[in-house]
Assembly symmetry: C2
Homo-oligomer: 338 residues x 2
């Protein structure tokens, strides 16, 4: 299985087995769900950052409860998933007694797909909320200059079936997806981005040096702006124009992450109502009879089920890059991750 | 001052002075900020609901800490602002020791403008988050049937100056604004709503019986969906199709509210950075040189400053309606609220 090969690459760089498994699983899950922008495409950068000492793959970070429900974490440059999963476990346990607990994380690395962490909490019956800040990539509504992060937000709420999971950047699209378009030589749709002169563009490479639009005009901008300050305030991290280290292999990562765990207590009847309600939405009349109404996460779930059968295609160029980064080339065979 | 007249009307219906002042202030603040949909237009309905026993204006509700950071509140049919402001005060104090505290409120009435409550928290240096559910007014993305609430979200984060405050419905527009258009005989813009047959409409009256679009397409729908279950789960309240009592004078109000208070500690340097950062955004290059970039809340703040000088215009029909509801007609003089 190619997941083993990914793990091997991380272990070769000094990552303990259990941490390598965590980082690998976050990347592979993104691939399985059809989000390659948050998948293995990120691995070469992670390996380079480990090589340069920008990531310390041997730490879970240092945490302390500054108050009974507020966990402060210095990630000590650890791998994002390793630091965040440790935080999730601490929050889940604490929320069971306090009702709600949150963590502000600084000096950690990119978490990958935020849905992963809130799902982790939801598996324990805990409502999860996750936020991250990022480099200045998004222009204000009515503006032309990248001054906000993409400031993603993920929420998972348990139901009687699988939890409702939403995971959205407050930009109209993630910079990862623009990179993915650029890497594949594809144009981007109109309305996604401006170039470095502040003009609208459909050229993915030009957009990489420009800025992305907030989603949903003034409202999405307002939400992104609020999350920008919310994360910086709770994580004691930098605001977007000063953030580095999530998209490069040159700088210490100084974005922030916030995780919130809420234990609403045992609610079997309510959770059953939620499942009935979501099914009612799925069965409601669509605008296009050929496209049934979906609940957020349905598409992701279907893609994952399919990918578990079919495996996932990794672009040849990425495999070549990973091969070049590997000391044991025989471990890397172009193929499927299952 | 006309605010006194509003307060008198509430007192005539048996509302204690201090509670009448709270309800009045929430309504008048909405008017001052240019949000008449959440202003005095709501007062006749509140008075009718008190008259029918659907609102008990004499209670703050019954609250208990189910865990150290999780406040459960049965509003006992109290006035929304009275119950919520009491909750804010309890949360603010608790968050100072636990770091974060939240309240799930059920069986309370309409809160009005959510910004009011998070600003109340921010004045104490506390980050505030407020959520409410509502009747099924919003159709799913790709759907035609009203199945979600407008599910507004407000966030306030302290800075060195006035706090950053955002307050947005996850619908493209609030139903209150559609009512306001209908009441004034105005058409609504294309894309806001569908009629009861699920067809797009610009007729405000038809939209009142139909459904509103989520803002920001699939992302806004996802956010609204998550907030729908988040509120129901924390407040132990109904999901949208079963909610009644925020727009009518016939049913007990069974929506839910969630308030979250976060004390991130003393951060004078960070708060100063926030103010510098927001000013940098305001001074950044706009798409239209005649329309400077604004930070969310700037427009609201300017309107409020202006209205404090100019007073606010109340439509004649609303004054007539309030007069008809008043026992002491001489108390109501058409004029300005200052």
């Amino acid at each position: 299985m190619a997941a083993d090969l990914v793990r091997n690459l991380l272990e070769e760089k000094g990552t303990p087995r259990s941490y390598a498994l965590q980082q690998t699983d976050v990347l592979v899950e993104a691939e399985l769900r059809g989000h390659p922008s948050h998948g293995l495409q990120r691995l070469p950068r992670i390996l380079r950052r480990i090589g340069k000492g920008l990531i310390d793959p041997r730490t879970q970070g240092k945490s302390h409860w500054r108050t009974p429900s507020f966990l402060k974490i210095d990630g000590l440059r650890g791998l994002g998933p390793v630091v965040a999963l440790q935080a999730c476990n601490m929050l889940s346990e604490r929320a069971s007694s306090t009702g709600v607990a949150l963590a502000g994380i600084r000096n950690s690395n990119h978490l990958g797909m935020l849905a992963y962490y809130v799902e982790h909490l939801a598996k324990e019956g805990i409502i999860g909320i996750a936020l991250s800040s990022s480099e200045a990539l998004v222009h204000p509504y009515g503006g032309t200059t990248p001054l906000l992060g993409t400031n993603p937000l993920a929420i998972a709420v348990p139901t009687a079936d699988r939890p409702l999971v939403v995971d959205l950047a407050t930009s109209v699209v993630s910079m990862g997806k623009i990179h993915h378009h650029a890497a594949n030589g594809c144009a981007i749709p109109e309305g996604w981005a401006r170039d470095s002169d502040g003009e609208m563009t459909t050229d993915a490479a030009a957009a990489m040096n420009g800025s992305i639009a907030p989603f949903g005009d003034a409202k999405g901008y307002a939400l992104g702006m609020a999350l920008e300050l919310l994360v910086a305030s709770i994580a004691d991290s930098s605001t977007a124009p000063d953030v580095r280290g999530t998209l490069d292999a040159d700088a210490i990562c100084n974005k922030g992450d916030v995780l919130i765990a809420i234990d609403a207590g045992k609610q079997p009847d309510l959770l059953a109502c939620f499942s009935t309600y979501l099914d009612r939405i799925r069965k409601s009349r669509p605008t296009d009879p050929k496209r049934p109404v979906t609940v957020p996460g349905d598409g992701t779930w279907s893609r994952r089920q399919q990918a578990l059968c079919d495996g996932i295609e990794i672009p040849g160029r990425l495999w070549d890059e990973l091969n070049a980064l590997s000391r044991s080339n025989e471990a890397l065979v172009k193929g499927h991750v299952q």
